[in-house]
Symmetry: C2
């Protein structure tokens, strides 16, 4: 599926700006960077900008709560290359802190646009509603959570500031923050301003030497492997990585966070590498390599099996948007995409490494045992039969993630999960974001009951906009991961049981299913899959002690620190 | 009703501490400050402290989401004098930013306790899950939103730090932040530590001169009035103010934020003062005064009628926890409570001022017009017949607040609302907090549909704990206030309609009502009132153009700034 990444549609030059107000200029530049939709909730300090947005070509998606809008914008950004959320001052902005922190941690380019009291209202520092400590409080908070922040308080610099901050979002794939006092929205600066789309170029000599060295190394390597991670998604480099792998016939492993970087039925695909937490055969295959091409990798705890990954730096080419390291030495000024593309263009020779039998997850036919109580792993196995190349799978954290990591994803960037920041409640609002970004895809959410109780009511917007995701709720009446992390009968791990499958009655749309056995799940999933007219919500009752093997292994490691 | 304010139960001396771990010491001091309950959600970085809490005498109230836990703790603090929320690192902590900002803005003493990665895990700055930018990010954010913050990273100073931060919360009635790395929770410091409960004393000479001056002024005043505001609630000074008013027979007005500072059937009660936004008779009565005792007042925009209040400084005695000002001069070092009590003790003489007919809201019998479509103001009028001295009314923002401000509150601090910070969605979680703080009270919530969609599912915890509040949802299918602020057909002001009255089926508890006419509302309210066994949820359909007079006046003023 073609990916409308923000880097592509940007024109290479633009006419000088004239006659645009600050608000109009911001809307124009957002579109130039490929934004077609925005999420948020209005409020009085941002109403005039909301009015401008509603009249613009940008589609405004109202959500039930700001943090959900933040998650939706994050998921949208992961698919589209750039996302945005528009909120009012403090009561709105301070409600997206957690979503934006997650976007920062996992490198997702979300633009936070917040209204603010007009400059003219601030004389003598009055106690205007929504103010916390002073008029800078919200700005100061986002300065801690974003890669760039600005207040548009001066017409002379406002356009340049918008350019700078949006370019940071696109270049660094991190959230940024733009605050507009409401009396600045319609101000038209008397300046001549020309926008030049951002260009990031590598140092050509450093690039050449680095690629030369990598080519030489690969030529000698006996057991090369690519480990492709999340930045490949963020920078839209899936095709470049695939070209490199195919040209040199190098097998590709992924990570939890990077899952779906390649069509997982591809013959070069090895599986998910998670150090000692993952499948032993994959771990061995990767760790035996004498040349690991670590592409766009995040060295995080859960992603790398709670630091059980055993990757010798002396056998790694480690390249990300921030650094390029071969063994013990570093090259500066080399852009991630440039390196991958240049290396692929050289069609490096290397030993064609066979993937031994047993490394790839064996394709097993799912045989239904209809009356049997359903388990997480059996549910995933059944789901795996159903999904196809147009499916986007979104996993919440805990066993939703570990279970779903066994799914075979057929497309690219069709698996979304907060696998590093691990914020519960990401998945349902993310489904909204994914649906808005790719209305023609079928979205499947796997979500625990605890996570659903946090943000699941964002289904309201999904029903309102007539999307048709399938939401699978793993209902074990509590915080399942914590039960394994901190064994014992702790009351705080239990939550109030909801009759989730009755929610469509409250929301006036969608259809609910409640299942306990394999047969019931099979029937519900088939029916939901064939019903593309509405949202489906499948409440799956599972045992309190049911879990994936991965969760048990993780809990054993993590539990030691508690 | 007696108010278990945190200042009272504190012992005047305490034995030296020995053998307590840092976690145990924190739990001990929270109790010494009057805390009996704590709200929150567990997570792995705080699980061991959660275990300690669950074994302690403190009641742990698990919520569906952290921001709801924050609102619940805020409401609890408004009633109890101190509240607390316990969350995990970043995904938990950064989800309470908005609730805590509201507590800061409106002076509510909420302690935020957050787990964090152990110090031993931080070597070489690894990418541990939940980390945003660095290990200080969350601390830095709360430094912007709290009156005091600390990380308990050193056993030698941990107890002193806990003392300092909790005392700031109690003295300043602002939120504070305590971060505990998980490997510090069970550390027992080898120190001898004695806790002395905080004592805040006034400068006796400044106090005496200020009271002398006030007594003299009152003796000459012709038209004195007290304007009592929110700090009177926060510092538990309702009885002191009443004593002052009664001893000198001075009429008392309140503000929106300070509403219920006095039993509103008291003969000295005038009504709510809101400048040009409020009832003309009350405005005139207050502004004609030649000696306004402004006690514990917040000079905020909505509270003071979007700055239409016309209070001449030269006729004001303005005293808060932060300043004491008579006309143009200031006294330093005088404690709010000391001033009010000392002034009352002097039994100041002043002109006994009659409250003219028409100033107080006339007591009108509500005559039901059963088939008539219900309006906000008629709904409030009917509710006013029902509430009694054991009712706590919680109003969300917008017309829930403006409408409910007409209710006659019989008790003290029995009206809660975020009338300054005006964060939508405060009310339902606040009902949980109020129920936990005062299980014997009957809680009534008035809430708009937009606000309910943000946090209303916290009813889950209310059902789970078998509380019996009555939740009235004003359902006008959108953001009603904004419709008046920004006239025109804006799509962003419409929200998806829910069948709120069906939620009890999802939650497995409570009873739902759906009403359209006065007769239906009357019947539902009577039935709900008499059914004290469960939560009641009354969905009230109102017209899109229905509003209180107050909202229309407000919208006219606020709308000019948009």
């Amino acid at each position: 599926m073609p990916r409308p990444h923000s880097s592509s549609p940007v024109p290479r030059s633009a006419p000088p700006v004239s006659g645009l107000s600050i608000g109009q200029y911001l809307i124009q530049r957002l579109q130039d960077h490929g934004l077609r939709d925005i999420f948020g909730i209005p409020g009085d300090y941002v109403l005039n900008f909301y009015g401008m947005l509603e009249k613009s070509p940008i589609n405004v998606v109202g959500c039930t709560r700001e943090d959900c809008a933040g998650f939706a914008a994050d998921a949208y950004a992961r698919i589209n290359g750039l996302g945005a959320v528009c909120v009012t001052y403090c009561v709105g902005g301070l409600s997206v802190c957690n979503s934006i922190a997650g976007a920062y941690a996992e490198k997702s380019a979300v633009v936070v646009i917040s209204g603010a009291p007009g400059l003219g209202e601030r004389v003598n520092d009055p106690l205007l509603h929504h103010k916390v400590r002073d008029f800078r409080t919200q700005y100061d908070v986002f300065d801690k959570l974003c890669a760039a922040v600005t207040e548009l308080i001066d017409p002379m610099t406002a356009f340049r500031e918008i350019d700078r901050v949006l370019e940071t979002a696109v270049r660094r794939k991190r959230p940024v923050y733009i605050e507009i006092p409401r009396d600045m929205v319609s101000v038209t600066p008397y300046i001549s301003h020309t926008w030049s789309p951002p260009e990031v170029a590598s140092d050509p000599q450093a690039l050449k030497e680095a690629v030369d060295e990598a080519v030489k190394w690969l030529a000698k390597a006996e057991r090369p492997v690519i480990l492709a991670d999340v930045e490949i998604h963020r920078f839209g480099l899936e095709d470049a990585v695939l070209k490199l792998a195919e040209s040199a016939k190098i097998p590709i492993a992924s990570t939890l966070l990077g899952k779906s970087v390649i069509n997982e039925t591809h013959p070069l695909y090895v599986g998910i590498y998670e150090g000692a937490m993952g499948r032993e055969e994959v771990t061995k295959f990767v760790e035996e390599s004498d040349c690991v091409l670590l592409l766009g990798a995040f060295m995080t705890d859960i992603n790398l099996g709670i630091f059980t990954a055993n990757l010798d730096v002396n056998r790694c080419i480690y390249v990300t948007s921030e650094q390029l390291r071969l063994r013990q030495h570093h090259y500066h000024g080399v852009v991630l995409g440039d390196f991958i593309r240049a290396l692929a263009d050289r069609k490096p020779k290397t030993r064609s490494r066979k993937i031994p039998a047993g490394v790839r997850v064996p394709k097993k036919k799912f045989v239904l045992d209809a009356p049997k109580p359903i388990t997480i792993m059996r549910m995933i196995a059944r789901l795996n039969e159903q999904i196809d190349e147009d499916t986007i799978v979104i996993a919440d954290i805990g066993d939703s993630l570990f279970g779903a990591s066994d799914l075979t994803i057929r497309g690219q960037t069709e698996f979304l999960s907060p696998a590093y920041y691990t914020s519960m409640g990401f998945s349902v609002p993310a489904a909204l974001g994914a649906n808005v970004a790719r209305p023609d895809s079928r979205v499947v959410v796997v979500c625990g009951d605890g996570a659903f109780q946090m943000t699941g009511m964002e289904l309201s917007t999904i029903v309102r906009r007539k999307y048709n995701p399938i939401i699978i709720i793993l209902d074990n009446k509590g915080y399942g991961t914590e039960r394994f992390l901190h064994p014992g009968e702790w009351e705080y791990n239990n939550i109030h049981p909801w009759r989730y499958s009755r929610l469509p009655e409250v929301l006036g749309g969608g259809r609910g299913y409640e299942v306990r056995t394999e047969g019931e799940f099979d029937a519900a999933l088939s029916e939901a899959w064939n019903d593309s007219s509405q949202m489906s919500l499948v409440q799956v009752h599972i045992g309190k002690d049911d879990s994936s093997q991965a969760l048990r292994r993780l809990a054993e490691r993590l539990g030691k620190k508690i």
